[in-house]
């Protein structure tokens, strides 16, 4: 005889994040990407604890050495250890990537949510977004560099100062796509009945945004986030190339790569390391983003 009562769903109740993790695990690329990214992050931040050579230490007798036990990645034209420089550079690049992304993300989500949620902010905020889109990145960066470098240097010291500046300039010039996407999603969400339902049970606007809107736009935000890290790292390296980024004595992957392209034929490994590091990071982060998007999208997760 057939059972007439409806059985409950097969899987037991469980936390949403476990679900996300389950879905994430099935995405092989994302898993590898995630692990790789973790390894890179560990290497650049924790690495210096184990590889204690000072990246700025000049050992003039050991110039331009090929990889060896003493210098696994070789040395540069002043005899500085490339491994140490790669780690120091990575710490900067990855920090720039992550912080610039966070800043862009924050700005983008903030503007996007405000514009999407509050009708009266929509027009002005979207015009603002247009304005920023129309402002060409390069001159803007340049001007910011020139304008704020000094006060920041004075307030935070030269390295922190320029770091803040670069992060801010990358962040400020790259939040617009996120804002647009988030706005679009919020506009669509606002039409969903659960928002109306929440309003009818007396949810205030701020609660509405934090409880209902934000969690539901998380997935596009996360994707922007992973893309943002990659773009920020690449933008930083492009800035170094144009001579607008960190000062030359301050290693970043972009700078190391740029400096090494002159020596492409003599010491190809010097190009290889930073080039590899940038590509790997971007790749891993992109795969991570792909996986996260799938994992965070309830439509896909629900399948």
């Amino acid at each position: 005889m057939t059972e007439l009562t409806t059985p409950g769903p097969a899987n037991p109740p469980r936390s949403q994040w476990l679900d996300v993790w389950d879905q994430f695990k099935t995405h092989k690329g994302a898993l590898i990407g995630g692990i790789l990214f973790m390894v890179i992050v560990l290497a650049v931040y924790v690495g210096p604890w184990f590889w204690t050579i000072d990246p700025t230490l000049i050992d003039i007798r050991a110039r331009n050495q090929a990889p060896s036990l003493a210098h696994p990645f070789g040395t540069d034209q002043l005899g500085r250890d490339m491994l140490a420089r790669m780690m120091a550079g990575g710490a900067t690049s990855v920090s720039v990537g992550i912080t610039a992304m966070l800043l862009a993300l924050f700005l983008g989500s903030f503007v996007g949510v405000l514009a999407g949620y509050f009708r009266r902010f929509d027009g002005p905020l979207m015009r603002l977004t247009d304005l920023f889109l129309a402002l060409p990145l390069l001159p803007l960066l340049l001007v910011m560099m020139l304008l704020f470098r000094e006060p920041l240097n004075a307030a935070f010291g030269p390295e922190q100062g320029i770091f803040i500046l670069i992060v801010a300039s990358i962040g400020i010039t790259s939040w617009m796509p996120t804002a647009r996407i988030v706005r679009g999603d919020v506009l669509a969400l606002k039409e969903r009945e659960f928002v109306l339902a929440a309003r009818s049970i007396g949810t205030t606007n701020s609660k509405m945004i934090t409880r209902h809107i934000l969690p539901n736009v998380l997935s596009p935000i996360m994707v922007s986030a992973t893309l943002g890290i990659a773009t920020a790292i690449i933008t930083e390296s492009a800035l170094s190339f144009l001579g607008l980024g960190f000062p030359p004595d301050f290693p970043t992957w972009g700078r190391l790569l740029f400096d090494a392209t002159d020596y492409l034929q003599q010491y190809p490994e010097r190009v290889f390391w930073p080039g590899m590091a940038i590509s790997l990071t971007v790749l891993s982060v992109n795969y991570l983003g792909d996986g996260l998007r799938d994992a965070l999208d309830p439509r896909i997760r629900g399948r």
């Binding site: 304005l131 129309a134 001579g243 590509s279």
Partner: protein
């Protein structure tokens, strides 16, 4: 539709004015000096003289006004004169570059051909490559082709052009000697042989640029195709007994192209803006190189004009993309 377009056009005017003011102020506020490249052997008094000759002594608002007039009133007249042989702009002061002491616009116009040749071709090539890749990747989601496409496009996305550019130069120019490493902007295409020469010198910069654009576009195309492949109308089309090729290439593609086309349209200002790094690497000397050169030399009129042209293009293509969206998608009609 028409009202929408006109409305947006009219609204664009204050936006542009505001943008121009912001650009102007930003650049004016930036420290740095057009005299910085003058050798130290030139005495300061002489430098001061030169600075005055550039009109740097005047107050800000006067210069802004002057620039606005020159840009919006005189330059268009020059253009008209150029095409119709009239004499409206006779004797008017045009926007003069500090670096070359010649009208900014003339140089910009001079640079446009090579920029379009290289960056434009790259864009076209990228589109031609990216769309099929995106379509096929989506149709065969998670197949090895899709995986490979994803991987390659992400690598393409992650390699900075100053690296890939130098790499291809070392391989193809230095080691193999196939292509020139320096772009010859004076080269004229007159016959088949010279066309081959042009092709040769374009291949490397175009490929380096196209790699990046392809990477992004194909991802877009794939996502858009995926969205549409699961739609109900696809099932309806199949139920009609239409061949799979027609289903994908007619029904799905047409719908998927709508967002992609606007993305492509929004990318067009970047063509005119040039590809700064790639131009630099291959010495294409297009608009991008002009801009970075002007920035380095603190050639304010040039930087202002270029950035503003760029802003105009972005605003314009934003509008075009919106209108296009309405044209392509019958559901969206602005009124």
């Amino acid at each position: 539709m028409l009202t929408f377009t006109v409305r947006r056009l009219v609204l664009a005017v204050p936006t542009l004015l505001f943008i121009s003011l912001v650009i102007f102020l930003l650049l004016e506020l930036a420290p740095g000096d057009p005299m910085a490249q003058v050798p130290l052997t030139v005495p300061p008094e002489v430098k001061e003289k030169m600075r005055e000759a550039l009109g740097l002594g005047q107050p800000l608002h006067i210069r802004f006004w002057k620039w606005i007039v020159q840009f919006f009133w005189i330059e268009p007249q020059v253009l008209i004169d150029h095409y119709f042989g009239t004499g409206f702009s006779q004797g008017d002061l045009r926007v003069i570059s500090w670096q070359t002491r010649s009208p900014v616009m003339d140089i910009v116009i001079q640079r446009i051909p090579q920029t379009l040749w290289v960056v434009g071709t790259a864009y076209v090539v990228a589109i031609i490559i990216a769309l099929p890749i995106g379509i096929y990747s989506a149709y065969r989601q998670y197949s090895w082709f899709d995986q490979l496409g994803t991987f390659v496009s992400m690598v393409g996305f992650s390699v900075p052009p100053f690296f890939s550019g130098v790499l291809v130069i070392v391989i193809f120019s230095v080691q193999l000697g196939w292509f020139p490493s320096i772009y010859d902007t004076t080269h004229q295409v007159t016959d088949w042989d010279s066309f081959v020469v042009q092709l040769k010198q374009m291949i490397m910069p175009v490929m380096v640029l196209a790699l990046q654009i392809t990477a992004q576009l194909s991802r877009f195309m794939r996502a858009s195709m995926l969205d549409n492949l699961n739609q109900d109308y696809v099932r309806t089309a199949r139920a009609k007994g239409i061949s799979e090729y027609m289903v994908v290439m007619v029904h799905v593609l047409r719908n998927s192209m709508i967002p992609v086309i606007t993305v492509i349209a929004l990318g067009i200002p970047a063509i005119f803006g040039g590809a700064i790094i790639t131009e630099q690497v291959f010495k294409v000397n297009g608009i991008g190189q002009l801009l970075i050169g002007a920035i380095q030399a603190n050639d304010l009129p040039m930087v202002q004009t270029l950035t503003f042209i760029f802003a105009v293009l972005i605003v314009l293509f934003n509008l075009i993309a919106d209108v296009l969206y309405g044209v392509l998608d019958p559901r969206i009609r602005y009124d």
